[in-house]
Structure formats: C-alpha cells, structure tokens
C-alpha cells in the first residue's frame, strides 16, 4: 500500500487572499485618467521674430476671459453655455454671411462631393493671468464640443452613424472639413484685476 500523503491545510488560504485583496484595494485608485486633449503650438525659435500673421477679421472669432471669469465673444458679453452654438455658427457659416468666415469650395471625394467650408477660420482664446482654471477649461470644452458636434453631424449625414464609430481614415477625412483651429495667445492682463 502506498504511503498516504497528508493533505495540505488550506484553511488559511482564504485569509491570505483576503489580505492581498485588501492590499490592492488600498493601493490602487479607481479613477480612470481622462482629460481634455489639446495640442500646443510648436515653440518659436528665439532667433525668429514674432510676426503677426495677417488674419482677415471675418475669419477670426475672439474669445476673451477676464480675471472675473466673464466671457466676451467678438466684443460682446456672453454666457459659457451660449458659446457652443455661437462657435458652431461661426465655423459653419451656413448662410454665407459677410461677418462670418469666408467659404471655400473644395472637392473632398465621395461621399462628400464638393463641400463649402470655412478653411481659414481661427478661434482665438485669450485669458487673463487671474482667470480660474475651471472657467478656462469650460471655454476650451465648449469649443471642442462645437467641433465634435459638427463632425458628428457630418458623420451622421454621410455615413449614418456617429463619428466615434467611424474608422480612423474616415474620421481624418471629416476632420479635414472641420479642422480644429483654436489658437491661444500669450496671457495678458486684461483689466478687471491688478
């Protein structure tokens, strides 16, 4: 008869794994890293003079946030929640208004065909040194949202599905119609503060 192998006592196994579990619960954090992705402009080489590029006034949407976190769009006081619609109107210029950016016609290939779009529009965000970070991000968020909504509308119109579900190539083609052009000026002191 073979020798009987004594069984390993596994009753403490549960305790050990509980210990491990609690250790991981304590050291890890649940929060996923999300954020508003932006791209900074490349630095200007020190030997190069800063030239003010001539931008046609109608192609420019100036968004200013002062030190009291008030928003001014094209010289008019505005609420943040109105900004998205205003930005969409500006980017789209559906009625070919003279005070909105110039429209260009370009063939984007099937299924878009010839599309009229505002190629040279620029949204310029200017903020004060004392502006709250949250207010700044609100504005950035609304502007990005305006682009996202336009791209999504375009995707639904031509492909009958949301923008986020399209493949990368198609997304890039839509991005060409609605290029994201948010420029940021150097922070200045715009008054309302020290």
């Amino acid at each position: 008869m073979a020798k009987k192998i004594p069984q390993i006592n596994a009753s403490s196994m549960a305790d050990i794994s509980f210990l491990l579990l609690i250790f991981f619960l304590v050291t890890t954090s649940m929060d996923v890293n999300q954020g508003l992705a932006r791209r900074l402009p490349a630095p200007v080489p020190p030997d190069q003079k800063v030239e003010d590029t001539e931008i046609n006034k109608r192609n420019l949407l100036v968004v200013k946030i002062n030190s009291l976190n008030q928003l001014m769009v094209q010289g008019q006081l505005m609420e943040v929640r109105q900004l998205r619609e205003e930005a969409k109107k500006f980017i789209l210029n559906a009625n070919d208004d003279a005070f909105y950016p110039k429209l260009y016609e370009e063939d984007f290939g099937a299924p878009f065909g010839v599309v009229r779009y505002t190629r040279d529009h620029v949204i310029s965000v200017q903020n004060d040194v004392d502006t709250r970070y949250q207010s700044y991000l609100d504005v950035q968020n609304e502007l990005v949202a305006a682009y996202n909504e336009l791209r999504d509308e375009c995707a639904r119109k031509y492909f009958h599905m949301p923008y986020s579900e399209l493949d990368e190539d198609t997304q890039k083609r839509i991005q060409k119609i609605y290029p994201q052009k948010i420029s940021e000026a150097e922070p200045k002191n715009y008054g309302g503060g020290k």
Binding site: L21, L36, D130
Partner: protein, 145 residues
C-alpha cells in the same frame, strides 16, 4: 450541524482580487499637493499609461503647509518643483523612453480647478519649449451644466 464547506472561498476571493487588479490602476505617486479636478464633457481617455507623464498643480497638503505655505505649487513625480524644472524633467523622461514612443508622449496636467491661469500658462510655455506638445487637461466627466 455539518461544517460549512469553505474550500472554494480562496478561489472566490482570488477572483475578486484579479477583478480589482485589472480594473484599477496603481497610484502614480503620493500627492503632496491637493487638487480637485475641473469638470468637462469632451473627455478622451489617456491610452497608454507608459506614455503619460503627470504634472500636479495645487496647494500643498496640510502636512506641507507649514513649510511651503498655501500658494499654488507644482509637483513633479514625488517632489515639489519650480516651473523652470519642468523642461528638464520632460526631456529626461522622454529620453528614457523607447525612441519609437518619444513622439507619442503625453503630458497630463492635473491642476486644481481654482488655479489661476497664470500658473497654467507658465507650465504650457515650459512644455512648448521642451517640445512636449501633446497635452491633456485632466478633468472629470460632467453630464451637463
């Protein structure tokens, strides 16, 4: 009364353990500044953890307040840093990466929502100078206004 058979208990706990290990992430560092993320809606997830570097901005936590005051401070890795150190930090971190990954580096700015934009603008200038152009403003999801 027969004893309850608990032999499968370790397996269950292990399952729980693996679940938590896979859905959570290790804390990157211990925070020396405290901050509440601002809120936004148009968020994108940061894809690869290994390509992301963090800059923390906020007021020092209670234990450091005596030494560092209550002014907004910048934290890189595990230590307080001056804004002039950001450039070197980014360049160091980037050169430690694989060459194919260097262009994909993302800098996540985790700043308190009450921070003054002056500080953020300084950081952005430093990042531009270090050619770390892909940035992400860390924020939490907000459903609507």
């Amino acid at each position: 009364m027969p004893a309850l058979n608990t032999s499968s208990l370790p397996d269950i706990i292990f399952m729980l353990l693996f679940f938590f290990m896979s859905v959570t992430s290790m804390k990157e560092v211990s925070y020396k500044v405290q901050f509440t993320n601002p809120q936004a809606t148009e968020l994108t997830k940061l894809e690869k953890k290994s390509l992301v570097r963090y800059i923390y901005v906020g007021t020092p936590t209670a234990e450091f307040r005596k030494q560092y005051g209550v002014e907004t401070r910048i934290q890189l890795d595990d230590a307080f840093a001056d804004k002039s150190e950001i450039g070197d930090y980014i360049i160091n971190e980037r050169s430690a990466m694989k060459e194919s990954d260097q262009g994909l580096m993302t800098v996540s700015i985790k700043a308190d929502k009450e921070t003054r934009m002056g500080v953020i603008a300084d950081i952005k200038q430093e990042l531009r100078r270090a050619y770390a152009l892909k940035i992400s403003y860390a924020a939490t999801q907000r459903t609507s206004f």
